[in-house]
């Protein structure tokens, strides 16, 4: 218990030391992201309309919703050409975006992290092959890659969350691979890894226990930055018609449907889903940027919040390294003891 509290305090320290700007950015980012999660998963239960609902029960029969109704008390963001309530679709789009982002980054991590570990730890020919492969994927225009994967998957799968998540996820594999591989390269030369090896630890143990837990720390920053980008990629796919199956609410698809409304002076069908994208991506980016600022101490400003650059700082960093390298205090093993 004490160890856990110590670790929490340790993890918190960079936040307390970060500049007020960095802290402000992280906290507003977290606030935005959390509100989106709430809207996505609670809003649905509270809001009277569904994302694909175009009629309501009225007495004995049903009554259709108005077409292209202006924002009003009844429909705060108006209705679409297909009689859907825009706010309900924005809520549904949030749920879809968040689930696709979650599954796509899980996929990218699931492939990128193990391959990066393998490549960095093994080295040699397999490393060269994987690096070239990943570089080739990395330099390719990501949106185009996602489109092609979505296009090909459409031959096998009904377009939905799994296929969209796969198309979006493929794009981010090389980033996890790169970061994890490079980090593994440096960690495997650390004395504690050598110590573990010389004590006769199996290669498996060395990689999963000692290398993995050190390397995995760099993943959250990439995760938040990728998550922001993934929202945009999904929306772009949807806009081009390679997202999920209509009429599932999806921001990009909804904007593509709103293009014709614009010439008629109808702005609310395009405006709200777009603003939702901007807000969610901004929130996620702020978290990522802020984390980056906090985790990457070189960028921390001098004098502010009492952080000193120089020998003192190196000491702090060295201490952190030491502590995390001790298997007794690494996150994954605390619970075991």
């Amino acid at each position: 218990m004490h160890a856990v509290r110590l670790r929490l305090a340790h993890a918190w320290r960079p936040f307390r030391q970060a500049s007020p700007t960095a802290r402000f950015l992280v906290f507003s980012g977290v606030a935005i992201t959390v509100s989106f999660v709430l809207v996505a998963f609670v809003g649905d239960a509270v809001y009277p309309y569904g994302g694909t609902q175009y009629q309501v029960e009225a007495g004995a029969g049903t009554e259709q919703l108005d077409r292209l109704a202006e924002p009003s008390a009844e429909h705060p963001m108006g209705t679409t050409r297909d009689r859907y309530d825009v706010l309900a679709r924005v809520i549904g789009g949030a749920r879809l975006a968040l689930s696709v982002v979650l599954f796509s980054t899980l996929l990218a991590m699931g492939v990128g992290v193990p391959l990066g570990l393998l490549s960095g730890y093994r080295g040699g020919r397999i490393d060269r092959l994987l690096v070239t492969l990943m570089d080739a994927v990395y330099v390719f225009p990501p949106l185009l890659l996602a489109i092609i994967v979505a296009f090909m998957l459409a031959a096998y799968l009904q377009p939905g969350v799994p296929s969209a998540a796969a198309a979006v996820g493929v794009v981010y594999i090389p980033q996890y691979f790169r970061v994890v591989r490079n980090h593994t390269l440096s960690v495997k030369e650390e004395p504690f890894v050598e110590a573990a090896r010389s004590l006769g630890a199996k290669q498996r143990t060395v990689v999963t226990r000692y290398v993995f837990f050190n390397v995995v720390q760099s993943v959250p920053v990439i995760f938040t930055l990728n998550a922001a980008d993934a929202v945009l990629t999904l929306a772009s796919l949807g806009f081009l018609g390679y997202g999920v199956q209509p009429p599932t609410p999806e921001w990009g698809y909804d904007i593509s449907q709103a293009v014709i409304d614009i010439t008629a002076g109808v702005w609310w069908t395009a405006m709200w889903p777009g603003l939702a994208i901007v807000l969610l991506v901004t929130g996620l980016t702020l978290v990522g940027e802020g984390l980056n600022d906090v985790v990457n101490p070189l960028l921390r400003s001098r004098g502010l919040a009492g952080v000193k650059i120089g020998p003192d700082h190196a000491l702090v960093a060295g201490h952190g390294q030491e502590e995390t390298s001790d298997p007794a205090t690494t996150g994954g093993t605390v619970g075991d003891r």
């Binding site: 080739a136 225009p141 949106l143 702005w267 395009a270 901007v278 991506v281």
Partner: protein, 338 residues
């Protein structure tokens, strides 16, 4: 650093592009064979009889063993033969020749906007760290990048074209004002043929899509230049310059900014691939007859041959760009050597 090491670096880098190109081409080849059936059936399956399909398959070599097809594809890709689309009378190479200039003009315009906005605001933000200007600049960078290009494009159309009537809603020129075709690059062609009316309408059409695309990428540059500026402003040589009494302006521009821009070369190159992707969306919104439009048309027609040809072209471009970045980096930064 001796001259020999630079030559060794360049040669090693060029040698590295071979496996990269091979892997990319192989991925493209395999990716488009993942789908069941074949291009003929996918495109024309409901319009031709079984015999006709078989005939077309033979004609286009889809009945050959996979390895033969692969070999033919590789040789074709490297010799500029990118296949014959099923749904277009032109060869893929001709389609690219017709559409690439439009995409190039759009991306070049966008890149200039991105650099001006990104380097300007980024350097200022870095210099004025933690002031309201910095917070504003960073937020602008983040928010503009967070905005989907197609959404910004639609809003720009709504406001500047529909409401104000300042710019056309789409296309490369209005009416039949295209300059006489020399190279296909309208800006260049109209200058070559001294057709100033064509130049005017070309630039007029470029402003909205180019600025939309450029602003979004400017957002990335702002963040990147700012961070680099922060790092160089802290470097010893900047401090040394200040200690020598060099004027603050000169410190910022000659010493800090110049060095802060070195890594930007890499980012510009990397963003170019992203920019090509962004161009697909921009082209869709502004009915811009470029490569993005071409590939979307082929995708819509399920024309695998056309899709494969254009992606192959993208792959070639991307490999050349990444080679160019590394060569430029090697030339300007003597520390980068193998």
């Amino acid at each position: 650093m001796s001259r020999g090491s630079l030559r060794r670096y360049l040669m090693a880098r060029v040698a590295l592009t071979v496996p990269m190109l091979l892997i990319l081409l192989t991925i493209v080849f395999l990716l488009l064979r993942v789908a069941p059936g074949d291009p003929i059936r996918a495109t024309l399956g409901d319009r031709l009889s079984a015999e006709q399909i078989e005939e077309r398959r033979d004609e286009l070599g889809f009945n050959d063993p996979m390895l033969v097809q692969y070999g033919r594809y590789l040789v074709g890709a490297l010799t500029g033969d990118l296949g014959n689309p099923v749904t277009d009378r032109r060869t893929t190479t001709e389609v690219i020749a017709d559409t690439f200039p439009a995409t190039f003009e759009l991306t070049a315009f966008a890149m200039s906007v991105a650099l001006v906005v990104g380097v300007g605001l980024g350097a200022l933000s870095g210099r004025l760290r933690d002031t309201p200007f910095d917070v504003g600049g960073r937020l602008f960078g983040i928010v503009i990048y967070a905005a989907p290009i197609f959404w910004l494009g639609i809003l720009a159309q709504l406001y500047f074209s529909v409401n104000l009537g300042w710019f056309p809603t789409g296309g490369r020129v209005s009416g039949f004002n295209a300059p006489e075709a020399v190279t296909g690059f309208y800006v260049l062609d109209s200058v070559l043929t001294r057709d100033w009316a064509a130049l005017r309408t070309t630039l007029h059409h470029l402003v909205l899509p180019g600025t939309t695309l450029g602003l979004v990428f400017g957002g990335i540059f702002i963040r990147f230049v700012r961070v680099n500026m922060l790092q160089t402003l802290r470097a010893d040589y900047v401090e040394a310059a200040r200690a020598r009494g060099v004027a603050e302006r000169a410190v910022i521009f000659r010493h800090a900014l110049k060095n802060a821009l070195v890594p930007v070369v890499t980012i510009v190159g990397l963003q170019f691939a992203l920019l090509l992707g962004g161009a697909i969306l921009t082209e869709r919104v502004f009915s811009w007859p470029g490569l993005g439009t071409a590939i979307l048309n082929f995708l819509g027609a399920r024309d695998y041959v056309g899709v494969q040809g254009i992606i192959t072209f993208f792959a070639l471009v991307v490999v050349v760009i990444s080679l160019a970045i590394d060569v430029v980096n090697g030339l300007i930064d003597p520390r980068i050597r193998y």
